[in-house]
């Protein structure tokens, strides 16, 4: 028996029990797994999977994000009455952003929403592709160049009534400061004629920034802006407008509504991206505005630590 065993394991470790290796001698284009933008996420939008996802979102992710990020949501009244598919465009600082935003979208959009996710990062492995498309309803989007397939997929989904959550910065910020928006979202909006809802999200960088090694629970703010109608606009201006709208929203929570509105019309280059990026001052300013952290975790307690301070 002991002699047989390795034989069986050997058999099981070979073709056809395992995938066969691609012959290196092939004179033709080598075969690629349908990953990246060619990964088919259709299955994740089938009804049973949607139901499962909705259950997970409402019963697991929502309490979990609440615990970790304690979000304060502003401006829901601006979107609550809207109908039909929308494009939600938000700044991006953390992996937490997607679940957090999904959980806090108005009910109407929450369960019929796909998330644009970087094809190179979220769809580079089979298991990742299945995980993200299944769990969050992610669809693969090419970040840096125009990919017809991914653009077609998103417009088609919007046409079918799906809302889209997208991070126009094209990636998480390195330093917590904003980055300039890419043109993809504007093109999508123009192509599908869908209004874009700007969202300002704050505080997730502190909880799980790009270079953080662990989660530090904290407070976050989510601000929904008024939808921007893309009709009769050109892509470049629309991008700017969305970027500005997000910046206005940030002003709105830090200063007040009126100052923000004023800035909107006075400041030509209203943007989250600071002009003086790289200098310590920008980061100093930002951290001052950030929502306050919990001073110390509730558990585990550092017994006796209060004595020393």
């Amino acid at each position: 028996m002991s002699k047989e065993l390795p034989k069986i394991t050997k058999v099981l470790s070979e073709f056809p029990f395992r995938r066969a290796k691609v012959p290196g001698t092939l004179p033709v284009e080598r075969y690629k797994d349908p990953l990246g933008t060619s990964f088919d996420t259709e299955w994740a939008r089938k009804y049973p999977i949607r139901l499962l996802r909705a259950l997970l979102l409402d019963n697991l992710l929502r309490p979990a994000t609440k615990l970790i990020a304690s979000p304060e949501v502003y401006g829901l009244d601006r979107v609550n009455d809207l109908k039909g598919p929308l494009i939600f465009a938000s700044n991006h600082a953390s992996h937490l952003d997607t679940p957090l935003l999904l959980c806090n979208l108005p009910e109407r959009f929450r369960h019929r929403c796909v998330v644009a996710a970087g094809a190179d990062y979220f769809f580079d492995r089979r298991w990742k592709s299945y995980l993200w498309s299944g769990l969050l309803g992610a669809i693969p989007i090419e970040r840096n160049r125009v990919n017809r397939r991914s653009a077609e997929l998103s417009t088609e989904l919007i046409r079918k009534g799906w809302s889209l959550l997208i991070f126009p910065e094209g990636g998480r910020t390195q330093d917590g400061l904003g980055q300039s928006f890419k043109g993809g979202v504007a093109q999508l909006a123009l192509k599908s004629g869908t209004p874009v809802v700007p969202i300002y999200l704050e505080g997730t960088f502190e909880i799980l920034g790009k270079n953080s090694e662990r989660i530090r629970p904290g407070k976050t703010r989510i601000v929904f802006g008024s939808p921007i109608d893309p009709t009769d606009k050109d892509a470049r201006n629309l991008t700017k407008e969305i970027e500005a709208a997000v910046a206005v929203l940030s002003r709105e929570v830090h200063d007040n509504y009126w100052d923000a509105q004023l800035a909107r019309y006075q400041d030509e280059h209203l943007s989250l991206t600071p002009k003086d990026r790289g200098s310590w001052i920008a980061e100093w300013n930002r951290s001052a505005q950030a929502p306050k952290r919990h001073t110390s975790p509730k558990w585990p307690r550092y017994f006796g630590s209060s004595k020393k301070t």
């Binding site: 056809p16 012959p23 001698t25 004179p27 033709v28 075969y31």
Partner: protein, 529 residues
């Protein structure tokens, strides 16, 4: 998605074992390092709207021919002949191309008030089609409209009252074809060109001919000089058929030829992996392979045969041409070659092939040893242009169980051929000389051919002649996994494993042989440079 072309894979250490057909089942077979595997091209994109493509082909014919509607007029007799059950293989998913084309032709005829229409299955010496097969090929509408009126006929090569002698060609070949077809005002032939052997003048000159006529090209001499019969320019078989075809045309028979080509999308959903490359098999494919191959091997022959013969291929139309025979056929051939042709460099010492469950002559039936011989040495061996895949004096290794099982209803003469001819000799020339006459004229076979569903008495001989060129060319044939008794009866050697077979072949071709494996089906044709 465009279809990827076929290619030749050279086996190295990391090459996975390769799918090999074995009758009603299949298995994975590891090939020695350096062997070449010939992979077929992927199925071509089908025509998106076959209906309008058919309509267009009928109205804008190829070559020197008027459009179909100009050929139809009230009061004429229209005969539509169509290819029989031997095409395509396996039978295609409904609707069959023949149904689509014939319906289009019939609608045109109805539009022009053509009343007198006959449909004839161009059987040649094949068995009569069963009702189920006719319904499948023509569709229920056509069948129900024509069969009750006795206007859906099957060609009878032994019915002297319905054959007409059109004289002889300049080579003295008797041209005798179906009277109804020959005397019609217009003969429309609806063909399926699955391989490059089909079609052209062969459609009418063979499909609708009598034994007296067919014997002029279906004989050992012609077949030995058809190198290969898949390449009409080097095929004596076709040269003779072309002479006959031209003679038929010169006798005033008006033929409107419709030729169709299909892609090679051979296997339906659960069996998809059979036409995929092994390293592209996903979890589903691999699971399907393991489950299906083990259960097929474990189940009794009749069950596995039944399962496999239930396969209906998702073939799709890739081309249709209509009009004058030769012009149409030239276009058809281009299309067939563009789907099936793969360039191969040089011949090899050994050619291996796994035979599937069906050949042209055992649709819904048993593949008997003679059909195994014919499929391997007749069809697969001849899938080349230029030179055979195997060098002169080389060895062919066939994988098939090759059991001595026969279908007494379809192949009665095969049983006697196997028992009474092959026990005496396997030399095609001697077989032809000593036995053909008595089988061809046996009244019982003729009776069963005409009234039952049997192949003509002479048909097993043609099977044997089909392999004559290969027998002439080869140094030996080994049947891997073949029943020893039946294999020896064919004059071949049985082997139990691939390694054994290769070792046996070495005694013929010498040490360190080069090996080529024909990874087919789907169909692939080699252009050997």
């Amino acid at each position: 998605m465009t279809s990827r072309p076929g290619f030749v894979l050279e086996v190295d250490r990391s090459t996975p074992p390769i799918l090999m057909w074995h009758g009603n089942s299949y298995r994975l077979e590891r090939f020695p390092k350096g062997a070449r595997i010939l992979y077929p091209p992927e199925p071509q994109e089908p025509i998106k709207d076959p209906k309008s493509a058919i309509a267009q082909a009928l109205e804008s014919p190829t070559g020197d021919s008027k459009p179909l509607s100009a050929l139809l007029h009230k009061g004429m007799r229209l005969v539509i002949a169509f290819d029989d059950v031997s095409l395509p293989l396996p039978q295609m998913q409904a609707p069959d191309v023949r149904q689509m084309v014939i319906e289009a032709v019939l609608e045109k005829a109805a539009e022009h008030g053509v009343d007198d229409v006959y449909l004839i299955a161009a059987l040649a010496l094949h068995r009569r089609m069963t009702e189920g097969e006719l319904r499948h090929a023509l569709g229920a509408r056509v069948y129900d409209a024509f069969h009750p009126r006795k206007r859906l006929l099957q060609h009878d090569a032994e019915d002297p009252s319905n054959l007409v002698d059109l004289g002889t060609t300049e080579h003295g070949e008797v041209v005798e074809i179906n009277k109804l077809a020959a005397e019609a005002d217009l003969l429309v032939y609806v063909n399926i060109n699955l391989v490059s052997m089909d079609g052209g003048h062969k459609s009418v000159a063979t499909g609708l001919a009598s034994y007296r006529s067919i014997r002029h090209h279906h004989n050992v001499k012609t077949m030995v000089h058809s190198k290969s019969f898949m390449d009409m320019h080097n095929s004596e078989l076709h040269t003779s058929n072309w002479r006959m075809g031209r003679h038929i045309a010169s006798q005033g028979v008006k033929i409107f030829q419709i030729e169709t080509t299909l892609n090679t999308d051979t296997f339906p959903k659960p069996f998809e992996f059979l036409s995929k490359r092994e390293w592209e098999w996903n979890l589903k494919d691999r699971t399907a392979f393991i489950a299906s191959s083990t259960s097929l091997q474990a189940s009794p022959d009749w069950i596995s045969r039944d399962i496999m013969h239930k396969i209906r291929s998702p073939y799709k139309l890739t081309g249709i041409n209509a009009g004058e025979v030769e012009a149409v056929h030239a276009k058809t051939l281009d299309k067939v070659f563009s789907q099936q042709l793969v360039n191969v460099e040089g011949q090899s010492d050994i050619l291996t092939m796994g035979l599937p469950f069906v050949g042209p002559y055992n649709v819904n039936s048993i593949m008997n040893p003679i059909l195994v011989y014919c499929l391997a040495l007749g069809y697969f061996f001849n899938m080349y242009i230029g030179k055979p895949l195997v060098r002169p004096g080389g060895v062919v290794i066939i994988s098939h169980p090759n059991k001595a099982e026969f279908d007494p209803a379809f192949h009665p003469s095969y049983i006697d051929f196997y028992e009474q001819v092959l026990t005496e000799t396997t030399d095609p020339k001697e077989i032809e000389k000593r036995f053909e006459e008595s089988f061809a004229n046996d009244p019982w076979y003729i009776h069963l051919y005409r009234k039952g569903n049997a192949y003509h008495g002479v048909h097993p001989f043609y099977m044997w002649y089909w392999g004559a060129h290969a027998l002439d060319h080869l140094g030996g044939v080994i049947i891997l996994g073949g029943d020893p008794k039946a294999t020896r009866r064919l004059g071949f050697q049985p082997a139990s494993t691939m390694m054994d077979a290769i070792e046996m072949a070495k005694s013929v071709v010498g040490p360190d042989p080069s090996i080529t494996h024909l990874h087919s089906p789907p169909l692939v044709m080699a252009k050997v440079i």
